[in-house]
């Protein structure tokens, strides 16, 4: 099976505080997943679960503590000296479209700079053609965008502009970090549908990072659920979201409010008192809130177990027909 991007055993430890009082925090703990060409893969979880850190490492904005990242068969560690953002293959878009562009600069500058830096056109005339062509992919045109400042666009429009900028270099992988959470709910689908279309028409692979499981279900093929630095469950969306196996995935799935007054929450839940406490926990990080907690959960971190095509980090599935992954 061909893999567009493979992340293997990625770990990132942050040390915070001064020389005198170091606090070590494992933001990403042995994270492994892969993305196939032309696939939308979701990395889902709550804030502070490590999904953004993972994205930053893939993009080269952070150095991993350990682990490998392989893009198109090339190990990142071996192509040293060249930053990811100088390659054409990976591009990214961000959460807040208004933060994506400098409010004091005209948006089209970024497009011309990209064209210039990646040598996508020889003349200004050609550059405009290239830019216009890309803008049309996201439903905009050069005329309605030239010479405008970010504040002159609406959030939804600007997010599409941001996607267009990323598409200029014709990447095969787009990292989208919470691309719709700052966009009004009524306009979200226009962005999400765009991913779908780009995937189908342009064979674009997308790493879709979100806490919004409903759009994740709608748009992606496979999903990984992250919790406090660990991927606790990974597999096809149909399975992970319709019959979640890990107790945390179950809680997360149940907590999504559905736009249907007949499906109201009935069960009561317990919240964690502090996040640090869970990060520092030995064993399974969810043990403090898990309704099925066992003694072993508090002592040793669980390994991935393959249950029916889904990898789950949970002792509940030990001794089932499943076999641990090598």
């Amino acid at each position: 099976m061909e893999k567009l991007l493979e992340v293997k055993n990625l770990t990132k430890v942050f040390t915070m505080g001064s020389i005198l009082s170091r606090v070590r925090l494992t933001a990403a703990d042995d994270v492994s997943f892969y993305i196939k060409p032309g696939e939308i893969f979701t990395l889902a979880g709550e804030s502070g679960c490590g999904k953004t850190t993972t994205a930053k490492i893939i993009l080269g904005f952070e150095e991993p503590t350990s682990g490998t990242i392989i893009h198109e068969g090339k190990d990142r560690a071996e192509t040293k000296g060249k930053k990811v953002w100088q390659e054409e293959g990976i591009q990214a878009i961000f959460q807040d479209p208004f933060g994506t562009f400098n409010p004091l600069r005209v948006v089209d500058r970024y497009f011309f700079e990209t064209v210039q830096n990646f040598k996508l056109a020889a003349t200004k005339r050609e550059a405009i053609d290239v830019i216009d062509e890309t803008l049309r992919l996201v439903g905009l045109s050069y005329e309605e965008f030239a010479g405008k400042y970010p504040s002159e666009f609406s959030g939804g429009q600007l997010q599409r502009v941001s996607i267009a900028r990323a598409l200029l270099t014709k990447p095969n992988l787009l990292i989208a970090d919470e691309p719709v959470s700052m966009v009004d709910a009524s306009l979200r689908m226009s962005i999400v549908n765009l991913f779908k279309r780009l995937k189908e028409e342009g064979n674009l692979g997308v790493l879709y990072i979100t806490h919004d499981l409903a759009t994740a279900y709608y748009v992606s093929e496979r999903i990984a659920i992250m919790f406090r630095g660990n991927i606790v469950e990974i597999g096809p969306v149909e399975k992970v979201l319709m019959e979640p196996k890990h107790p945390y995935s179950q809680l997360l799935r149940e907590s999504i409010p559905e736009a249907d007054p007949t499906k109201r929450w009935s069960k009561r839940i317990v919240l964690a008192e502090t996040e640090e406490e869970e990060y520092m926990r030995v064993g399974c990080k969810f043990a403090g809130r898990c309704p099925h907690v066992m003694n072993i959960c508090k002592e040793q971190a669980p390994k991935d177990i393959d249950v029916d095509g889904v990898l789950v980090k949970c002792y509940l599935y030990n001794g089932t027909s499943a076999t641990p992954r090598q």
Partner: protein
């Protein structure tokens, strides 16, 4: 143009700009002075203001008006050297500390903070004493600039630090933009208003310090500046002898200059800072 129009709505901007224009015109007039400012007894001594000598003459035998044009010019030169050079230092230090971070940042910021904490006026007095013979406009300007960058470097650094974390930094990098271009094109525009308003403050600071050092006799007293004019007036006991026109000229000029510079900086920074601007127009 719109910016100027908006600024002129603030009477402080209008007043300060007018005063500054008059003062700059005065400085330019020094080129047309009929008298050499370094010579003594070029006119009758100690005469009251008259049609011939608008602001009277002093005990050195100089026409006070023309002497004042040189004084204003030289004070402005010193303060411009001081403020421009210190701004250059502040921008460099602030940018490097903010963008590089880590040890570089800590060392640079420690140096800057030390300048803020140590009573630098006294250090300057020591330094001025040691180089008194070599003191001229440029040396004094450079000396002041060496001590005047710390606070602004800190401000610029904090701007860069917050900008570095903003997503558009990543957008620029992903667009293939290099570090130098990134800093110049993406970050400098944010710091420009601040640099500009601190530039004005720094000019006032430099003029004030020059005056203080001059009154202590720590500069070259043969070069007319607002400070040395005051020094001479005090030296010849102009107050006790009732020569008010002599002492008042540098005092009133510097008063106008300080108030005008301050008003201009307040007006500009209020215009540029949305929070205070909003308070002024009363919007939410």
């Amino acid at each position: 143009m719109r910016i100027l129009k908006d600024l002129f709505r603030d009477y402080r901007f209008f007043v300060s700009l007018s005063v500054l224009v008059i003062i700059v015109v005065m400085a330019i007039l020094s080129n047309f002075s009929p008298y050499d400012p370094t010579l003594w007894n070029v006119v009758p001594r100690d005469t009251k203001p008259s049609a011939e000598h608008w602001l009277g003459t002093d005990s050195n035998g100089q026409d006070i008006f023309w002497q004042a044009t040189f004084a204003v010019r030289n004070s402005l030169i010193i303060s411009l050297i001081a403020s421009l050079v210190s701004r250059a230092i502040a921008i460099m230090v602030g940018m490097i500390a903010g963008y590089k971070g880590g040890t570089t940042d800590r060392v640079l910021m420690f140096a800057g903070d030390s300048l803020l904490v140590i009573p630098i006026f006294l250090i300057m007095v020591m330094l001025a004493m040691m180089v008194r013979e070599f003191m001229n406009l440029v040396v004094l300007g450079l000396m002041l600039s060496f001590f005047g960058w710390a606070w602004d470097a800190r401000l610029i650094r904090s701007i860069i630090l917050s900008l570095r974390e903003r997503d558009f930094t990543k957008t620029a990098l992903l667009s293939g933009t290099g570090t130098v271009k990134l800093v110049l094109k993406e970050y400098i525009p944010f710091a420009t208003p601040l640099i500009f308003s601190t530039l004005i403050n720094n000019i006032a600071w430099a003029i004030g310090l020059e005056m203080t050092l001059a009154i202590l006799g720590l500069v070259n007293l043969n070069i007319p500046t607002l400070g040395t004019m005051l020094n001479w007036a005090l030296f010849y006991q102009s107050i006790l002898l009732g020569r008010w026109w002599w002492i008042l000229t540098p005092v009133v000029l510097s008063l106008c200059l300080f108030v005008a510079l301050y008003w201009m900086s307040v007006s500009i920074s209020e215009y540029l800072d949305p929070r205070t601007r909003i308070q002024r127009v009363g919007a939410q």
